[in-house]
């Protein structure tokens, strides 16, 4: 798989000759220096972007062949996301943020399901708080709850502990792996955190857009 972009200075190759497979239920850490193409790879796997050439198959569906709306629907059905900057909707409460993917998937018991998973991440006392009123660790726990609320087959995490202090980061990492085990989710995480990467069953190292170790 190859990804190139055109910039004013000419064409830039972000990723070249990437080819790998992850087994269901496995955990994969994508590591590498800044600018090595980690986030680009994650974006491609999530169907947020399209490769210049090559194919990506998620759970038997070739997402590279789908249009944007179909990929969005697939994401809603199969994937969960955790971001470095949390990406909670500021206009919704913790509970409503977690309900959002469930409601988009027309789940009739969205509220109950959201409460359950928020309880699981230890935030049952913060249901009606807005993101602004939560600490960084709490926000990321809401984001994790949101990611797991729909029982995704694939969880994609972009530097999930990158914005948190060491202690909080460790706890959030812990939570991520616990839920991964409980739900049997396939986990892909992009990280600079070697400790977090070491906990994954497999590691993928990128250097200047090339796969150097798998």
């Amino acid at each position: 798989m190859v990804k190139r972009v055109t910039v004013p200075e000419g064409e830039l190759t972000l990723l070249t000759d990437i080819d790998f497979t992850i087994e269901t239920g496995a955990s994969l850490a994508v590591v590498g220096a800044s600018g090595s193409g980690k986030s680009t790879l994650l974006g491609l796997m999530a169907g947020l972007d399209r490769p210049t050439s090559g194919h990506i198959v998620v759970h038997g569906t070739e997402i590279t062949a789908l249009d944007e709306d179909a990929r969005a629907a697939l994401r809603g059905r199969l994937m969960g996301f955790v971001f470095q900057s949390f990406q909670l909707l500021p206009s919704l409460t913790a509970e409503e943020n977690v309900m959002l993917p469930l409601e988009l998937a027309a789940n009739a018991n969205a509220r109950d399901a959201a409460r359950n998973v928020l309880e699981r991440v230890g935030l049952s006392h913060r249901l009606h708080h807005y993101p602004k009123q939560l600490s960084g660790g709490e926000q990321q726990r809401v984001a994790i709850a949101r990611a797991f609320a729909t029982h995704p087959k694939l969880l994609l995490a972009d530097e999930p502990t990158g914005s948190l202090d060491r202690h909080t980061g460790e706890k959030v990492g812990e939570l991520l792996f616990e839920l991964n085990r409980e739900h049997g989710t396939t986990l892909v995480l992009v990280t600079h955190d070697d400790q977090l990467a070491a906990r994954c069953s497999r590691q993928l190292r990128l250097d200047e857009g090339k796969l150097v170790a798998a």
């Binding site: 994650l42 999530a46 709306d69 500021p90 993917p101 409601e103």
Partner: protein
């Protein structure tokens, strides 16, 4: 899915509302709607008030005249529809007194006449007159002083009219139709009761009689009746409504409509800017949320539906509130209107409501929809890379889409395509000029940073660095200021210029029928009583018999007014010099008194009758025909109340024809004895009191000024919302930068200074450019549409620049004072 969209939309809306983002949008929509609704209601009301005033000159709301009595069914229909009616029968007849007979214009009237306006009578010749609500008693007449003098009769005497002997009951001094019709062509008036008509034996087959039926009622009913009757009119029957008022009143009414249209347009422009700014900010703030939702599986349609619903709901609520405010505001006007009209006004129509809501809808669709559509294209990758923004070109779509919507709105609100087009062009020009000038001035500002403190440098550097968005902001502020300046300063100047057209000492009396042989004596009469020589103008009566050799006939003209003009005699005049307040719009005025026969024609008349330069007009004067070409077209200020003529020729052409002289002069109200003396000395002269017409024109000017002041309040509010929205639009960015400054060690004073520098320079530039734009638009509008001259006032420039810097500077500081009052770390964490 729909219910999910709705639930999500509502849930987010509640929070957005509390966070204040949509409130500016809401206020902008509410104000826009309120302004348009208010202008709509005002225009509606004012038009009705003015129409009522004008109808007083006509004697009714609608009059139909014909050589034969009107069909009874029409009168029955009018009664059934709830209209009041009255009838007059007019014909010329000799009236005899003790000494002689004289030709009089006899008018027989039914009880109730006039339906609008009043008759004025005096109990004795040259006694003070008063208003009356009655008509002559059975067996009596009211006669004009001129007629009584001519036949040597007094109040109480008996006069002969046909086979009847009737008693003179009072002296008639004024009647409504006198000022409304062709005031200069009437024989002295004799008013008689219609019931006495048969006995005179004067009305028979073939007699030259004009039957006129007058109707009055609510505007709707009158319009309905007019519509039902109009189709059945025979060529001999002529209908007249307020539209056919005297040229002075017509011109004033026309100006009034334009002024109000202008006020409405400015409100629309302001509202659109505010909506565009707030919608854009709202959308920009939700790009992240959209990307996240796309990540979570939301389709493009879902996203559009969620945000579309939010904007739609707020727009709807704002629109409803606006209409309510507009409606409540017009109650104030009802009170105002009540002081000039005796009757009650019909309820305001629903049109302003619809117009206001349509404006809100078009504004939202034109200015909020394009940014909304951008949400569809939010790259989902934005969740990983924040710098990714939707495709560019969105801004261009907004401008194109919005501009189209705005132009459509302007043309609609102006109610005059040409005026609308000019305002649109003015605004487009202002837009381009604002952009270009802003760019140049920003570049120049960079040089200002030498030798100033770091805070100033930072503030100004910010402006320059954000070049593009600064230019957009200058345009936003600038358009807001342009509109405000246009309305405040220019409006005042326009209104002043307008009312100066009718100064306190504008002529209020016309004298007609002065014989050439009396001229010197009349002049001496003025001198002896310390009245300035008012200037006397010759008048030759002639009938238009041919245009370019082709005989004219009433039927050849479709237009009502044209038919009437052709049917009656023209008052031709001759002069060596053109009147100072006339203006040549085509061709040339002749030089010297020896010039060959030719015509100078008033442009409005030329337009109505389809005359062009070079056309040959033939007038029959007495038993001769004068044939000459049109060599110039003139613009005339009818509302100046000076003596003016539709058709003028050089002295050489007309001097040999029978002429009488006419003059107009100002008579102070306390010098009634001057007229009494004048009439005693020259009984053949007729005095026409145009004070009533002048009062109408003055009323129009006052009412409209008041209405504009009133509407102005809304427009100012709309302008302030624009300013607020402009500042709000870059609020996040500024607050963030200021926080960074403070983190880097800048003191609060430094932050203030940098903000002041940035906002004040921005405001100053916008204000300067706005002053230029407002002046240009004002000048074009004044000269092209109001026929008023308008010159540049340097204070406008000063006001623009200083007010711009001050208002934007202060508002900017107030808007961002949170930056300095909250710990910078909190600010940085909140605004992510």
């Amino acid at each position: 899915m729909n219910s999910v969209d709705r639930r999500l939309a509502w849930r987010m809306l509640r929070r957005e509302w509390r966070s204040g983002d949509l409130r500016v949008f809401f206020v902008a929509i509410a104000l826009a709607t309120a302004a348009v609704a208010a202008v709509g209601f005002f225009t509606d009301r004012i038009a009705q008030v003015l129409a009522l005033n004008a109808n007083e000159l006509l004697g009714g709301d609608l009059i139909v005249s014909s050589p034969n009595p009107l069909p009874e069914e029409w009168l029955t229909a009018a009664r059934q529809q709830g209209l009041a009616s009255a009838r007059t029968v007019e014909f010329p007849s000799m009236v005899g007194g003790a000494q002689r007979f004289e030709l009089a214009g006899v008018k027989a009237v039914s009880e109730g006449y006039p339906l609008r306006g009043t008759l004025r009578i005096a109990d004795d010749l040259f006694a003070a007159d008063r208003e009356t609500t009655t008509v002559p008693s059975v067996g009596s007449v009211w006669a004009e002083a001129r007629l009584l003098s001519a036949i040597g009769a007094q109040v109480g005497d008996t006069v002969n009219l046909g086979q009847s002997k009737l008693k003179v009951e009072a002296v008639l001094s004024n009647e409504p139709a006198r000022a409304a019709g062709n005031v200069f062509s009437m024989a002295p008036r004799l008013l008689v009761r219609i019931d006495d008509l048969t006995a005179t034996g004067l009305i028979g087959p073939g007699s030259r009689v004009r039957y006129t039926d007058l109707f009055a009622g609510s505007a709707d009913t009158v319009a309905e009746f007019r519509k039902s009757v109009e189709k059945q009119l025979s060529p001999l029957q002529r209908m007249q409504g307020v539209e056919d008022a005297r040229p002075e009143v017509r011109q004033a009414l026309e100006r009034a409509r334009r002024f109000l249209g202008l006020a409405a347009m400015v409100s629309v422009v302001l509202a659109s800017i505010a909506v565009a700014l707030t919608a854009d900010r709202f959308i920009n703030r939700h790009l992240d949320a959209c990307a996240v939702m796309r990540c979570l599986g939301a389709s493009q349609r879902t996203i559009l539906s969620i945000y579309g619903r939010q904007i739609g709901a707020v727009a709807l609520a704002g629109g409803a509130l606006g209409v309510l405010i507009g409606y409540l505001a017009q109650n104030g006007l009802v009170a105002m209107a009540a002081s000039v009209t005796n009757g009650t006004l019909p309820a305001p129509s629903m049109m302003p409501v619809l117009a206001a809501l349509a404006t809100a809808a078009v504004t939202v669709i034109g200015f909020a929809a394009p940014p909304l559509m951008r949400l569809r294209n939010v790259p989902t990758l934005r969740v990983l890379r924040r710098e990714m923004t939707p495709m560019t070109g969105g801004a261009r779509t907004t401008v194109l889409f919005g501009a189209t919507a705005l132009i459509a709105l302007l043309l609609w609100q102006a109610g005059d395509p040409k005026l609308g087009m000019w305002v649109v062009l003015g605004l487009l020009g202002a837009l381009v000029a604002l952009g270009g000038l802003a760019w140049i001035m920003l570049s120049l500002t960079r040089r200002l940073t030498r030798g100033v403190g770091v805070a100033w440098r930072f503030g100004i550097a910010n402006l320059v660095r954000r070049g593009r968005s600064s230019v957009v902001q200058v345009i936003g502020f600038g358009l807001g200021f342009t509109a405000l300046l246009l309305l405040s300063v220019v409006r005042g100047d326009l209104l002043d210029a307008w009312s100066q057209r009718l100064p306190e000492d504008a002529p209020n009396r016309f004298l007609i029928n002065i014989q050439p042989s009396q001229m010197e004596e009349v002049k001496r009469f003025y001198q002896a009583r310390n009245q300035p020589d008012p200037g006397f103008y010759p008048m030759v009566r002639g009938r238009l018999v041919a245009v370019n050799g082709k005989p004219t006939a009433e039927e050849d003209y479709a237009d009502d007014r044209a038919q009437r003009l052709v049917a009656r005699e023209f008052n031709l005049s001759f002069a060596e010099e053109m009147a100072a307040d006339n203006k040549i719009v085509a061709g040339q005025w002749w030089s010297g008194g020896e010039a060959a026969a030719q015509w100078s024609v008033e442009e409005g008349l030329a337009k109505t009758l389809g005359f062009k330069m070079g056309d040959t007009l033939s007038f029959q004067v007495a038993d001769r025909t004068i044939e000459a070409k049109i060599t110039s077209l003139r613009g005339v200020e009818w509302d100046s109340f000076r003596v003016n003529f539709f058709v003028i020729g050089p002295p050489q052409a007309l001097v040999d024809y029978p002429a009488t002289y006419i003059t107009a002069f100002y008579l102070p109200e306390d010098r009634g004895e001057f007229l009494t003396d004048l009439l005693r000395t020259f009984p053949n002269i007729t005095v026409i009191d145009v004070a009533a017409v002048m009062t109408q024109v003055r009323n129009i000017i006052t009412r409209v000024s008041e209405a504009i002041e009133y509407v102005f309040a809304f427009t100012i509010a709309a302008g302030l919302v624009v300013l607020y929205a402009s500042i709000h639009a870059t609020f996040d960015e500024r607050i963030r930068e200021a926080a960074v400054l403070r983190v880097l060690g800048a003191g609060r004073g430094d932050v203030y200074k940098s903000l002041i520098a940035e906002f004040a320079v921005l405001g100053g530039i916008a204000g300067t450019v706005a002053a230029i734009a407002a002046f240009l638009v004002g000048k074009i509008v004044a000269e092209k549409f109001f026929d008023l001259s308008y010159s540049f006032d340097i204070s406008l420039w000063f006001t623009g620049t200083v007010a711009g810097a001050l208002v934007v500077g202060v508002a900017g500081i107030l808007g961002t004072r949170r930056v300095v009052s909250t710990p910078p770390w909190t600010t940085l964490r909140e605004v992510t």
